[in-house]
């Protein structure tokens, strides 16, 4: 009630209406009374004396309803005077001869004031109830948003939207400080990219001092904000830290009611919860990534100790044998096989380093495939090129004539195929065939490598794609690790939006299947003119 009398906040809704918002309600009230008087005169309603106070009371009630209590008081007096002037004998004179008439006029005045006040009070109560309902709805919606909205940006936007529903608020935005110490809008409603109306100094003050900049603060004056527009900057706090600043632009010619303030502080708390949760989620993701990286590092160290040291020790061993050649007189064949071993181990180390580099690049997500329309022949021939003549004899190529081009990063896809073919050659018998097959399907382009080896370890079909995995039967064997190659291959295929899966064949052997999404429709795949 206090605020209703104190400020303009309690102005009933009609006075806010654009059409008449420029006109003072008092002038309007007097005008209505004069209009009523004119109407009475014109229609000769004053033929019966009883009509006059009734019509005036109706006018006062209307004024009270639409223009508020103070306008109604003024209207009551205006009606009293015009009544006296125009209709009480002597007419056109304020003089009253009949004391009964004087009493009647006074009773009329008191009745008008009381009716006016009651109507205005009713109207204010109704208005208050309406606003309370809006505020309650907005708050409950915001609470629901906090509880249900997972996406932070959406959550902030929705809360701001519910805040702006309340009459007093025109615009709202959440302002954050970025790494370069400058302030920018995170979310705003109505959504807008530029933040012209936001005063960065005020935002900075609210953020760094954790204090509100509102309608009472000297900041408003210091910042010389236009008198008909009031902006608020409220710090959004977690327990001991300012997370962001809520900026609110107030509706023209409105100041804050107690209720508005309560809603505002509830909304600030809701925003704080959303932002705080966002931080926690990020922190969790970060620590998960760290844990993942840590796991990788541990696995890498284990691998370095095994997969790096064993070729190194065989190189070292072979070299020392060759050094002692004079004493022990190695025959030519032994010498040759030692040297061959050294070369093979060096190649293996080189491949291992390449795989580690690829894997770390894939894990960090920095690598993007450089896709081009590539003839399948080119892909296959580049793959086969890296195998020697004996190995090539074991490789059988079956190309689907329907599949002429694929949309891939040729360098990386060749590496995938090399890894798969090499793997197949290594884990199947010397006299068996390894197939390299392509299939064109409507939903995917398939590249397959099929072998006739021992197949995949049972129940470990997926495990073989984990970095550093070795099937138990190969764990301590002399065969170099395969885990890296397959993990890298899968990573490369997935970066293409495709899938790499492994299956056991019905009889014996394994299938490694690369399925690539079909190239986009608008890509030119026609054969050249």
């Amino acid at each position: 009630m206090a605020s209703r009398i104190k400020g303009e906040a309690a102005l009933p809704w009609l006075s806010q209406h654009a059409l008449i918002s420029g006109i003072s309600p008092y002038v309007l009230a007097v005008a209505v009374i004069l209009y009523t008087t004119g109407l009475i005169k014109l229609t000769n309603a004053d033929a019966s004396m009883v009509n006059i106070p009734m019509l005036y009371l109706l006018a006062v009630q209307g004024i009270a309803f639409f223009l508020g209590s103070r306008a109604a008081v003024l209207a009551s007096f205006a009606a009293f005077l015009t009544f006296d002037w125009y209709f009480v004998t002597p007419i056109n004179n304020f003089q009253i001869n009949d004391p009964f008439e004087f009493i009647a006029l006074l009773v009329f005045l008191v009745t008008a004031i009381i009716i006016g006040q009651l109507t205005a009070l009713f109207q204010t109560r109704a208005e208050e109830a309406r606003r309370r309902e809006i505020a309650a709805t907005a708050l409950s919606q915001a609470t629901w948003t906090v509880a249900s909205e997972i996406d932070t940006n959406q959550g902030l936007l929705k809360i701001l939207k519910y805040l702006v529903v309340i009459d007093a608020f025109e615009k709202a935005a959440v302002i954050v400080r970025d790494e370069e110490e400058s302030f920018s809008v995170w979310a705003s409603f109505p959504p807008e990219k530029d933040s012209k109306s936001i005063d960065h100094k005020a935002a900075e003050y609210a953020f760094t001092q954790s204090r509100r900049v509102d309608d009472n603060t000297h900041w408003q004056k210091a910042l010389a904000i236009a008198s008909d527009k009031t902006d608020l900057y409220l710090p959004i706090m977690s327990e001991d830290e300012t997370l962001a600043v809520l900026y609110v632009e107030l509706h023209e010619r409105r100041s804050l009611s107690e209720e508005d303030r309560q809603v505002l502080s509830a909304m600030v708390n809701h925003l704080a919860v959303v932002i705080q949760r966002d931080r926690l989620v990020r922190a969790q993701a970060y620590s998960r990534a760290l844990a993942e990286a840590d796991k990788l590092k541990t696995a890498l160290l284990q691998m370095v100790s095994h997969d790096f040291r064993s070729p190194l020790s065989s190189i070292k061993g072979s070299v020392s044998c060759l050094f002692e050649e004079d004493g022990t007189a190695l025959d030519k064949e032994t010498k040759h096989s030692l040297l061959q071993g050294i070369e093979a181990e060096a190649d293996r180390l080189n491949k291992l380093v390449g795989n580690i580099l690829d894997l770390s690049r894939l894990e960090s997500g920095t690598w993007k495939p450089l896709r081009e329309v590539t003839p399948i022949d080119e892909l296959v021939s580049a793959t086969l090129d890296s195998f020697n003549a004996d190995e090539n004899k074991r490789i059988e190529v079956k190309l689907d004539p329907e599949l002429k081009f694929v949309w891939v990063d040729s360098v990386q896809m060749v590496q995938v195929l090399r890894n798969l073919v090499e793997n197949a050659l290594k884990y199947s018998d010397q006299n068996t065939v390894v197939e390299l097959k392509t299939v064109h399907r409507a939903d995917a382009d398939i590249l397959e490598v099929l072998d006739q080896g021992h197949g995949l370890p049972k129940n470990n079909e997926e495990k073989i794609f984990e970095p550093f995995f070795r099937a138990p039967e190969h764990r301590e064997s002399a065969k170099p690790g395969v885990g890296m190659g397959l993990a890298v291959s899968r990573g490369l295929v997935e970066a293409h939006g495709g899938q790499l899966k492994a299956y056991n064949r019905e009889l014996h052997g394994a299938i490694f299947r690369v399925s690539l999404p079909p190239p986009p429709k608008d890509l030119v795949l026609v054969e050249g003119s």
Binding site: G354, T374, E378, S381, L384, D385, S386, K404
Partner: protein, 237 residues
């Protein structure tokens, strides 16, 4: 023929220089060593080697710059030593005038095969304009613009013929996509890799017995193509 072939090795790593020297001297090459780009350029001017083996990553003047300066006055074949995964730098070196590249780490057999190929090519270019190209059943008659495989004539479109001819006259040399497109189609088509790929695929279907195991036209992934006159030495991936 081979003995007395002078090879200049420019690399800042002493271990690599030593390995290359020992390895090539076994094949009767005369090997000159330079530790920096500047020294390499001086030696090249002084000794006029038959082949230059050039490391790309060197302090001071790097391999690209050496390549560029060398090409201002010399046509000596250049083989670049490059690390894996740097197709861009391979293309750059080739387009600055290098003839071939070998990926580090490399085997001596592979390096020797590349040296042989580039020296053969140089000799071919120095010989008077040849009227045909012939290699293992593939015959190109430049005068009649006719191509045949094992005596059977193959019909090529004019562009396919131009492409094959350009590769044959630059046999055993890596030709980048850009070089082929500029020379066969024209400089305005330099970016049109897809056209080139389609033509090469069609050409392979016509001249190769097994297009997926090409005998002649080899793909240097994301770099370009090479027409091989001798069997390939598989390179470690």
């Amino acid at each position: 023929m081979k003995s007395g072939t002078k090879i200049l090795v420019i690399d800042d790593e002493p271990q690599i220089r030593r390995a290359i020297r020992v390895g090539l001297e076994k094949f009767d090459y005369k090997v000159l060593l330079a530790t920096t780009g500047e020294e390499g350029l001086d030696l090249a001017a002084l000794e006029s080697p038959d082949v230059v083996i050039l490391d790309l990553a060197m302090p001071g003047i790097d391999g690209f710059e050496v390549c560029r300066q060398l090409r201002e006055w010399s046509q000596v074949p250049i083989i670049v030593l490059s690390v894996r995964d740097s197709e861009e730098s391979k293309v750059r070196a080739l387009e600055m005038g290098a003839d071939d590249y070998v990926i580090k780490p490399f085997g001596m057999r592979e390096l020797e095969a590349r040296i042989k190929a580039v020296t053969r090519r140089t000799r071919g270019e120095q010989a008077p304009e040849q009227s045909n190209f012939s290699c293992e059943g593939l015959v190109i008659d430049y005068v009649k613009r006719m191509v045949s495989i094992d005596g059977k004539e193959v019909h090529l479109t004019p562009k396919e013929y131009d492409l094959l001819k350009y590769m044959a006259t630059h046999a055993d040399r890596v030709l980048t996509h850009g070089q082929l497109l500029t020379k066969v189609w024209g400089p305005e088509f330099v970016q049109d890799h897809h056209t080139l790929r389609v033509h090469v695929a069609n050409l392979r279907n016509k001249v190769e017995k097994q297009p997926e195991r090409p005998r002649f036209i080899h793909t240097e992934t994301r770099v370009g193509y090479r027409l091989r006159t001798s069997e390939a030495v598989p390179s470690p991936s």
